[in-house]
Structure formats: structure tokens, C-alpha cells
């Protein structure tokens, strides 16, 4: 069998509670460095990262004498003494292999000690002598120096530039033009569990308890770096304290843990980076600047969409946020132009953060749409309906089932949009200026091939299902069991699911909202193959392993999810303080496998979008090249009191069998898309102050709201 067949949903669609809930609420679920003597992690060493004190230069000498003299310090590894890597082409991962300093905070030494206190003090005592070189850590400085370039491609393989139609003619025919620049700051994923790993090298095999979104991807990256066959690297991640993209690709902490273990054969080493180090060693969403130019007819129908995205990357390793890709498919327009340019700086390496591309890109695009609605005197919901494309503008393919208009209309009804005054500053409640706003959301249906699952029959009609997927909090452990139960035609209680271990069949990353779709399809295919191999009533101990090659119909259709986000914002007329008091999203995401868990995921995306709209700001000091706001006090993420009293998410009842054999797409990312724009648009409606730079803070409004 080469592909899975659609299944009949029974458990799929039911709101099963998280199977790991009792372990989590009591604290018995064990995260990376928490594995202890029960698992053979006895008498571990603690490793501590020493970061580069400059943004660019060379390490002249690492003076470890004082550190080594400190009681409990066992060793200090630097670029001369650390174990050698076989591959050093990836400058982010090839730590301690040469004397180059690419960014402030880069790993330049590792202290190994008997206790965490000694390791930390040892790290303080290490003297790193550097030959500092002039650096550039500011986007504008890089632009002014003429360093912006067109990359070969953007993240996820998107084309750098893409255009369509006669742009000049469309511009010439336009009677309404919105032409503005929108900016988003550096944003940091900040999962609650900082990146951490416990590693052990026995001379033959490397074993890791890791905090990652993909155990197989980590093993597949570390093995060639270390010159090992992949079978000699075992990675386990039963529980992971969030990731949001920052644990999607291996980063220096994992390499550091592996090098530390290699240097101490037979001894476990634990490495948990500090919250401060999270800001420089685990990726982040680069700041973006989007110039969006919308050319339209007087009634708001688009004639041309232009989106020029600028971001920065690290000279150590290129990462290009695909900010302009949503503009290629979102609305109908006869002409279109999208570009990505990037400036290399001497800074930490950016990477994935929840909905890379769509999140900052749709902030820009959807605020621009709101500006167009105002310019044309058209209701913002109607404007979007008016620009609905009947097929994908980018590929020309028919949609799988694009239901954005229904999301907008249902969301508007649920939110109470009707009767909203068109003009800003129309509603005042005491000291608060009150406004509402809307934005659309979209996320592509991604799907990863080469996932495999193992199905084994057990006594008493039970089945063991194994796949090396990771549950980072999404609920994979719960929903994959539901999918497996339906694929096998048994109750969920009859399924024993194992995941989070490279000893289980190959699984791709928990990312791109593709986890449940990719892994679930593999499980369905393996279950169907198992039935073909062993029948409906198998003897215990029979098994089938099957790898998926393809399922979604990406050849014939453009597969995307859509949504509509509505926000109410209040801004204090004296202090300019903005508060989001209502937030609602209506989504089209295919069949929802588990409504309880999907609602939590969508809520989480909405909250993170709100956090980006009003709070998060990674402030870099260009003089030194580091993030000043590198902790959870100065880099504020939304807390309980910031979350709207009225927060809700709903979805359309549907099943997308073009996407998966169980009809679902993905819900991890779309909740963050469009949310910041809806809040920014509501803030404009409240105050008349147009928000084009995130985050919107009291300073954004205080000059414009008085009186």
C-alpha cells in the first residue's frame, strides 16, 4: 500500500482529556534534565555555557586557571580543547571548533563541574581574551552600508521574489492607494522550559534526554556532526516544556551537551541554559519591515498587491523570514509583486518562531487592508469578502476548500460586528476609548513525507502504536491515540501509544502545524497495512512498520487554512495604556481531531498574538550586539492579567480529505496569524492612531489620545 485511505471518525472529533494530564499537574512528568537515578542518570556533571563577550572577533586565549582552581570544577572546554566535530559547515552548530566569534553570547567555552553552583561560578571565573573587530548589529546600519541582498530563497523553500500581471498598468488604473511601511521587532520564542539536555557517551553510543520538537531530526543532525552513524545516537524527549519553533531545529545547546559528554566518557552531563542564554542561542524571530502598497478601485477591489519585506540575518548562518509569502495568495488582484531582502549582521542566528512569515507578514498586510477599507469607506469585513479569489493566485490551482468568507461572516456574527461605527473614536467608556478591529488569518497546509509508524498486536485485543513524534504540549500523545484507534477500528483504551524516542520509527519535526497531519497519516497507513497483513483478529505479537510517501493532494489543489480574528481594544485617554478586552477567532482548519485540545492551541496562538501586539520587544543594543531585554521581566510575555476576559475560538465543521485521511489539517500556528493586526486595527478604531510598529504600547498612543 502506498498511501493511506480515509478513515471513519469515531474517536476523532471527541474531546478526550490529555492522557498525560495527571502526570503534568502533579509534576511527575519528567523533562530533559530531570531524568535521574531511576533512569540511570547518577552522579551527573553540570555543564555551563560561557558566552562570547563581544559581537565579532577572535578568541585569543581562554584562561581557565582560576575556574579550574575552583572547588568542584572538573574541566573547561574551549575551541582548542573541545572534541572535534567531523562537519563544521554550519557555523551556528560548529561550536568550539575555531576561534571565530560571530555574535555576542556565542558559546566560547564550557565549564563542567560536580554541581551547578560550581559550574556557574566556574563560568564566571573563565577569562576569555578576545581580539575584538568592528561589528554591525543594527539593521539600518547594514542597509546604509549597502549590505541588503536577495537570498537564493526564503525559509521553507519559498521563492525570494514572485510577481504576476502588469503592475504598471494596475498602478496606473488605481484610484485609491495605500503605501505604508510596517515593522515588527525581534521576538523570542521563550518556551517556559529553557533548552536543556542530559547527555551520555559510553565510547560507542551517545544518549540524550533532550528538550526538542524532533528527536529524529536531532539525531540526524548530531550524528554527521560527530562523525557517528545515526544508529549510535539515541535521543529521547518524553516531555518538552514548549518550543514554538525554537526547539524545531537543533541549536548550540544540544551540540554543547554532546561535546561535554564526549569529553567525559561514561559520565552523564546535564546542560540547561539560562533564560538569558535562550535569547542568543536558540533562534528568534528577526525584526521585519514590510513596505506594502495596495492599489485599488474606488470600491476597494484590489488592482495590485505589493509587499517588499526586509529582515536581518546572522553572518554566521542565513535565515530568511518568508514575510511576503502570504501576500502571494491571500486576495485576488490582477497584478502582484513580492520580494524578500535580508541584511547580514554580527548577531545571534534567527530561526523559526510560531508561523514564521505569516505572523509578521499578515500583520503588515492586514493592517494595510484596514487602511484601504478606511480609504475606500468600505467595511473591513466587506473589503475582504470583495477581494476573495476563486483560485490560488500564486499557483493557479483550485482551493481545497477556502472558507475565509464564512469565517469572516460567522466571526462577525459571533463577535457582534454589525452596527460598528465606521469612524474612529466613536465610542468612549469613562476614561477608555473603545474600538473594534478585524483581520484575516491564513496558514498553509504543510505535510512531511517519510514518517513511519509501527503497529503491534498485543494480548486482549490491545495494540501498541509507536512513532518517534514529540508532544511539546500540543496534545500529540492524546490525538495520535485517537487517530490510531479509528484507523484500527478499536476503542482508544485499546491503544498503547509510544513516542518521543529515536528507537521508535522515524518522525519529522513537531512544527509547521504539520505534526498531527504527518504523523497521523503515517499511523493510519501503518494501521491499514497491519490489517492487510494480519487481518481483523490478529494473534498477539504480530507487527507492521510502514512509511508514508505521500498523501495530501498538493498537485491538484492549493491547501491552506483560514481564519478571521476580531478584537476589542480599550485605550486609556490619559495614559495611552492599551488593553485588549475581547478577542475572538473563527477558523477553517479541516476536521478538528480533539475540540478540547484544539481550542487550547487556538487560544494559545491568540494569546501569543496578543502578546506580540502589545508587549513583546527584543531590544538590541547595537553598540554591543546583544539583546538588552533578555529576561522575562524586561521581555514581557502576556501574563494572566493581560489576557482578555472574553477570549474565544471556534471552527467550521468540515473534513478535508485532500489533506489527511482523517480530514484534519493543523491548528498550531494559525491562531497567532492576523491576531496582532486585528488588535492594531481595533486600537486605530478606538483612538484614530494608526499602529504600524509593534508592539503598540502607551507610548504609541499617549500623544494622540489626549483631549
Amino acid at each position: 500500500m502506498s498511501t493511506a485511505e480515509p478513515i471513519t471518525p469515531r474517536a476523532v472529533g471527541a474531546g478526550h482529556a490529555r492522557v498525560d494530564g495527571p502526570l503534568k499537574v502533579t509534576g511527575h512528568a519528567l523533562y530533559a534534565v530531570e531524568h535521574g537515578s531511576d533512569e540511570g542518570v547518577t552522579d551527573p556533571l553540570t555543564a555551563w555555557v560561557v558566552g562570547a563577550p563581544v559581537a565579532r572577533g577572535r578568541v585569543v586565549r581562554v584562561d581557565a586557571a582560576e575556574a579550574l582552581a575552583h572547588a568542584g570544577v572538573v574541566a573547561v572546554l574551549d575551541h582548542e580543547t573541545a572534541p572535534r566535530l567531523t562537519e563544521t559547515g554550519d557555523a551556528e552548530l560548529a561550536i568550539l571548533q575555531d576561534d571565530r566569534v560571530h555574535f555576542r553570547g556565542q558559546v566560547v567555552a564550557l565549564v563542567l563541574a560536580e554541581t551547578s553552583e560550581a559550574a556557574r561560578e566556574g563560568a564566571r571565573l573563565v577569562r576569555v581574551h578576545v581580539a575584538e573587530e568592528a561589528h554591525v548589529a543594527d539593521l539600518d546600519e547594514g542597509v546604509d552600508a549597502g549590505e541588503a541582498y536577495a537570498p537564493e530563497q526564503a525559509n521553507a523553500g519559498h521563492e525570494t521574489d514572485w510577481a504576476d500581471g502588469d503592475l504598471e498598468a494596475a498602478r496606473g488604473a488605481a484610484s485609491v492607494v495605500v503605501d505604508q511601511t510596517y515593522a515588527t521587532p525581534h521576538e523570542h520564542n521563550n518556551p517556559m522550559e529553557p533548552h536543556a539536555a542530559a547527555a551520555h557517551w559510553d565510547g560507542e553510543r551517545l544518549t540524550l534526554w533532550d528538550s526538542t520538537q524532533g528527536v529524529h531530526p536531532v539525531a540526524g543532525t548530531l550524528a554527521p556532526l560527530l562523525g557517528l552513524d545515526q544508529e549510535r545516537v539515541r535521543v529521547r524527549a518524553p516531555y518538552v516544556g514548549g518550543g514554538f519553533g525554537s526547539k524545531g531545529l537543533p541549536h548550540p545547546p544540544e551540540v554543547a551537551a554532546a561535546l561535554a559528554a564526549l569529553s567525559q566518557p561514561g559520565r552523564w552531563v546535564r546542560l540547561a541554559i539560562t533564560r538569558q542564554q535562550v535569547f542568543s542561542l536558540t533562534g528568534y524571530r528577526t525584526q521585519t519591515r514590510s513596505r506594502v502598497r495596495l492599489s485599488a478601485e474606488p470600491d476597494g477591489r484590489l488592482l495590485a498587491v505589493e509587499h517588499d519585506a526586509l529582515s536581518q540575518t546572522s553572518r554566521a548562518k542565513e535565515f530568511v523570514e518568508q514575510t511576503a509569502t502570504a501576500a502571494r495568495m491571500m486576495y485576488a488582484a490582477p497584478a502582484r509583486r513580492t520580494t524578500h531582502r535580508v541584511v547580514p549582521l554580527d548577531v545571534a542566528v534567527p530561526s523559526w518562531m510560531r508561523a514564521p512569515g505569516e505572523m509578521p507578514g499578515m500583520f503588515a498586510h492586514e493592517v494595510a487592508m484596514d487602511e484601504l477599507a478606511v480609504a475606500c469607506g468600505v467595511d473591513p469585513v466587506d473589503l475582504r469578502v470583495r477581494n476573495e479569489p476563486d483560485r490560488d493566485p500564486e499557483t493557479g490551482k483550485p482551493w481545497n476548500d477556502r472558507r475565509l468568507v464564512e469565517c469572516l461572516q460567522r466571526g462577525a456574527e459571533r463577535f457582534g460586528w454589525a452596527g460598528r461605527p465606521a469612524e474612529p473614536r466613536a465610542t468612549v467608556d469613562g476614561d477608555w476609548l473603545v474600538g473594534t478591529g478585524v483581520a484575516a488569518a491564513t496558514y498553509p497546509t504543510l505535510w512531511n513525507p517519510d514518517n513511519a509508524a509501527r503497529i503491534e498486536s498485543r494480548a486482549g485485543g490491545r495494540y501498541a502504536v509507536g512513532i518517534g513524534a514529540v508532544d511539546i504540549g500540543t496534545g500529540a500523545r492524546t490525538v495520535l491515540r485517537q487517530v490510531a484507534a479509528d484507523a484500527l477500528g478499536v476503542d482508544v483504551e485499546a491503544v498503547d501509544l509510544a513516542l518521543g524516542d529515536t528507537s521508535l520509527p522515524m518522525a519529522t519535526v513537531a512544527g509547521g502545524s504539520a505534526g498531527t497531519a504527518s504523523w497521523g497519516t503515517a499511523i493510519v497507513q501503518a494501521a491499514q497495512q497491519f490489517r492487510a497483513d494480519h487481518g481483523p483478529d490478529p494473534a498477539p505479537g504480530l507487527h507492521t512498520v510502514s512509511t508514508t510517501e505521500g498523501y495530501p493532494d498538493t498537485e491538484g489543489h492549493a491547501l491552506h487554512s483560514f481564519g478571521a480574528v476580531f478584537a476589542e481594544v480599550r485605550v486609556d485617554r490619559w495614559t495611552g495604556e492599551p488593553r485588549c478586552t475581547r478577542l475572538h477567532g473563527t477558523y477553517s482548519v479541516g476536521r478538528v481531531v480533539n475540540p478540547v485540545l484544539a481550542r487550547s492551541q487556538l487560544h494559545g496562538g491568540l494569546v501569543m498574538g496578543l502578546s506580540a501586539a502589545l508587549h513583546e520587544d527584543g531590544v538590541r543594543d547595537p553598540r554591543f550586539g546583544h539583546t538588552v531585554t533578555q529576561d522575562l521581566a524586561t521581555y514581557h510575555v502576556a501574563a494572566h492579567a493581560d489576557v482578555p476576559p472574553d477570549l474565544s475560538a471556534e471552527w467550521l465543521e468540515e473534513s478535508d480529505l485532500l489533506a489527511t485521511p482523517f480530514g484534519g489539517r493543523g491548528v498550531g500556528e494559525i491562531g497567532i496569524v492576523g491576531t496582532a493586526a486585528a488588535i492594531a486595527n481595533a486600537a486605530w478604531h478606538a483612538t484614530g492612531v494608526r499602529v504600524r510598529d509593534l508592539p503598540a504600547t502607551p507610548a504609541t498612543f499617549v500623544g494622540g489620545v489626549r483631549g
Partner: protein, 174 residues
Amino acid sequence: MTALRLTVDGAERHLDVDTRTTLLDALRERLEVTSPKKGCDHGQCGSCTVLLDGRRSLSCLTLAVAQDGAEVVTAAGLGSPDALHPVQQAFLDHDGYQCGYCTPGQVCSAVGMLAEAAQGHPSHATDDLEADPELTDAEVRERMSGNLCRCGAYAGILAAVQQAAGAARAEERA
């Protein structure tokens, strides 16, 4: 090294600690009590919250040697997977968590907060400082704001805390 006695989740524990050791590290690294989590080590995230002599406390901000003789209750001591504390059950009922890393701290914080409110402690969200505080949603959100949840499970946590608060009030009346 300093000798220390702690009661942790009902069990008396004796240990020698470095004077630099925080209570959190003593629990996690010396005693293998990993229910309290380390999210920031700076008292900014709340993941390390435990009940210290009955009150919620950030275990990363106190040195172990300062707590000789103290009673520490973690989420693992409040209930077990087979016999959950009502607050823990409420978190399950309302899916008040996702990755689970902040969760033991949220649970301890909620238990401590409910006790504070019952004792009449006001908060920033309290209008009348003289009256017994009513645990409105705004009060709960304010009082729980020291516990960050990056998964954004706040709506579920709020509902869970309100369920537990309602159950506690009902018990009080009965």
C-alpha cells in the same frame, strides 16, 4: 557545606548543601524532587512556585540554608496522579495547561492564592481594601499573574481556579 533539614511533601529529608544552593536547586538537583520547575531562575516566571510553610513562594529566590527546618509542599505533595488535589483535578477538567512545564507552579500558586484570598488579603484588583475580597475573574487573573504560561492556557487556568474556588466556598458553607 551546611547541614539542613527539610520536610518535603511530608517526608523529612536531611542534606548537606553548598551555601549558594537555592531551595529550587536543592529540591531538583539534590533531592530529585523535580515537580517545581526552573523557567528563569530570577523569580520572573513562577514555574518554581512551592508552598513554603504554607505560603506560596518562589523557590528559586530563596537560599536553601535559609530554610532549615522548613516545610515544603510541591505539586507532587498536593496530590498524586491517582489521588489528585481538587485544584489539580480542575486543571484537568478545564485543560488548564499544554506543555505542563509551568503547571506544577501554577497549581501551587493557585492553592496558595486561594488561601490568601480566604484570609482576606487584598490585591491590586481589589476595590475595597477593608472588605473580604470576592474572587472575581479580574481578581484571579491579577493574583495569578506571577505565573507565566507561554502556551497561553490562561483561559483554562482561570476556569480551573474558579472551579476550585467555588468548591472551596461550597465546602465552607457546608
